[in-house]
């Protein structure tokens, strides 16, 4: 078994192969030089902590050795000979496989017009990116963030916590336009504003120029900003280069079926790099960039590489931490016509998104710490069951949401 991509998903798949009792060779190929580590802290603790923390590795070397997983770091898979079932590495090595998993993740969407500005233009995907960004986060520095999505906002919050001056430039009329409803975006906006983040929505950059000791940013509205660095957070694109070169079907990511098999039955794909038919949403093809999905699909891919033939079951689930707030979204709200609000604690609420037929499609919540976690999790289970909950019960904080699971 060969796995390309030593991120959350690839490693989970490797470990799961062993948990499933597979005893043959497992090789995990990773382009980065670090042991597999968690990405979510990169826009959180790794930026805010007083000390520069090391990458938060998922399993130490000894655990990988004990599991009999051969880890090839700083190695890139450059091509696949599908007929001979061999994966070729950059250094010329060839690895034979029975089944191959592509867990190649995603990379930040780049703004090539900014390349000429050099090191002051930053992206955030890997540990080394976070270390570079950290270098600009102190009381004297000014950071401009392009894009009011999750990564941009988390980095902006972290930068403020370290005392840097921060402006966020978002082209849409509000932040998190596609990801969360306006009511939740308002809470996020207010929290950032209270912390002194300059949130500029409905505006974009017309030009960014090197001023010798910084960057001068002209906005389309005519406003001008100065910054020591610009963080570009305008979304991610699935890493499909290897799959494309191998002529696998691509459709907003490596296209897989409900068992995570690509158009080649010996090759599977999972995690941020793949698009799949979502069972909960009537087979609609979606692609997620979410940590738990990477875990779940890694585990499922392992089973199916061993022939289990199991379909994807989980519903999308995502969280984001900004300041003391945690935001969680389960499901996909698209198509919802009715929104019901449940106040779970002071400053913590959940919005339930219901389809015209009353089916629960999604739940999004925001609040301090773990305030919304339990109810969003219960909502997720209801979503997977395609439940039609009573909106009045959803809205009623006295009713334990868990009682709806009994029905």
């Amino acid at each position: 078994m060969v796995i390309v991509g030593a991120g959350e998903c690839g490693l989970r798949a490797g470990l799961a192969l062993r948990e499933e009792g597979y005893v043959g060779p497992v090789t995990l190929i990773g382009e980065e030089r670090h042991l597999p580590y968690e990405r979510p802290p990169l826009s959180k603790d790794i930026l805010t902590d007083e000390q520069l923390l090391p990458p938060r590795i998922v399993r130490p070397t000894e655990a990988l050795e004990a599991a009999g997983i051969t880890l090839l770091l700083s190695s890139k898979a450059v091509s696949i000979d599908r007929a001979a079932r061999r994966a070729m590495l950059g250094d010329g090595r060839a690895l034979s496989y029975d089944k191959l998993l592509l867990a190649t993740g995603a990379r930040p969407r780049r703004l090539p017009q900014l390349d000429r500005l050099g090191e002051r233009v930053l992206y955030l995907r890997g540990y080394d990116d976070a270390v570079a960004l950290r270098g600009y986060l102190d009381r004297r520095s000014r950071l401009a963030v392009i894009g009011g999505g999750f990564i941009g906002l988390e980095a902006a919050a972290a930068a403020r916590q370290r005392g840097a001056a921060v402006a966020v430039i978002e082209a849409q009329p509000r932040v998190l336009m596609r990801a969360v409803p306006a009511e939740i975006a308002e809470v996020v906006t207010a929290r950032h504003a209270a912390a002194g983040v300059d949130l500029i929505c409905g505006d974009g950059f017309a030009e960014i120029a090197d001023t010798g000791n910084g960057l001068g940013i002209s906005l389309t509205s005519g406003r001008r900003l100065e910054a020591d660095a610009v963080l570009v957070g305008v979304g991610a694109v699935p890493e499909t280069a290897l799959a494309e070169r191998s002529a696998l079907a691509i459709d907003n990511g490596i296209a897989v079926d409900e068992t995570l098999a690509t158009s080649d039955p010996h090759i599977f794909a999972a995690g941020d790099c793949c698009s799949f038919p979502s069972p909960v949403y009537d087979g609609r093809r979606i692609r997620l960039e979410a940590w738990r999905n990477a875990q779940d699909q890694g585990a499922l891919a392992a089973k199916n590489m061993l022939g289990a033939g199991l379909p994807i079951e989980s519903a999308p689930w995502f969280w984001s931490d900004q300041f003391e707030l945690t935001l969680q979204v389960a499901g996909i709200a698209e198509g919802a016509t009715n929104v019901v609000r449940r106040d779970v604690a002071e400053n913590a609420f959940i919005l339930f998104h219901l389809a015209p037929d009353g089916r629960l499609l999604a739940a999004s919540g925001i609040g301090p710490g773990g305030a919304v976690g339990r109810d969003v999790r219960i909502a997720e289970m209801l979503i997977m069951r395609r439940a039609i909950p009573d909106p009045r019960q959803l809205a009623s904080p006295e009713l334990r949401l868990k009682s709806l699971l009994a029905g």
């Binding site: 989970r12 710490g369 773990g370 868990k402």
Partner: protein, 104 residues
Amino acid sequence: MANWIAACAADDIDEEDVIRFDHGGRTFAIYRSPDDTFHATDGLCTHEKVHLADGLVMDDIIECPKHNGRFNYKTGEARGAPVCVNLKIYPVRREGDTILIELD
């Protein structure tokens, strides 16, 4: 040396649920299982320091509210990513309506 502390009344916890109990600068989580037994663990998740009492109890499992890490609250065993460090458990005794836990 046994150090039993009265933590709560049995009725403070619903069946298949959990509450938070703070004592001596520490925080614990106390559980009531579906078969009506009581259990206690450290209050914070071993992944990030989040109160497990805000989490969801299902059978023998407590699910962390932050990233859905799972523990068996009867044994403390970590039961699924992202948690891989077990949770410390404490002996629990019921005396009438009072739930006591033994601290070290």
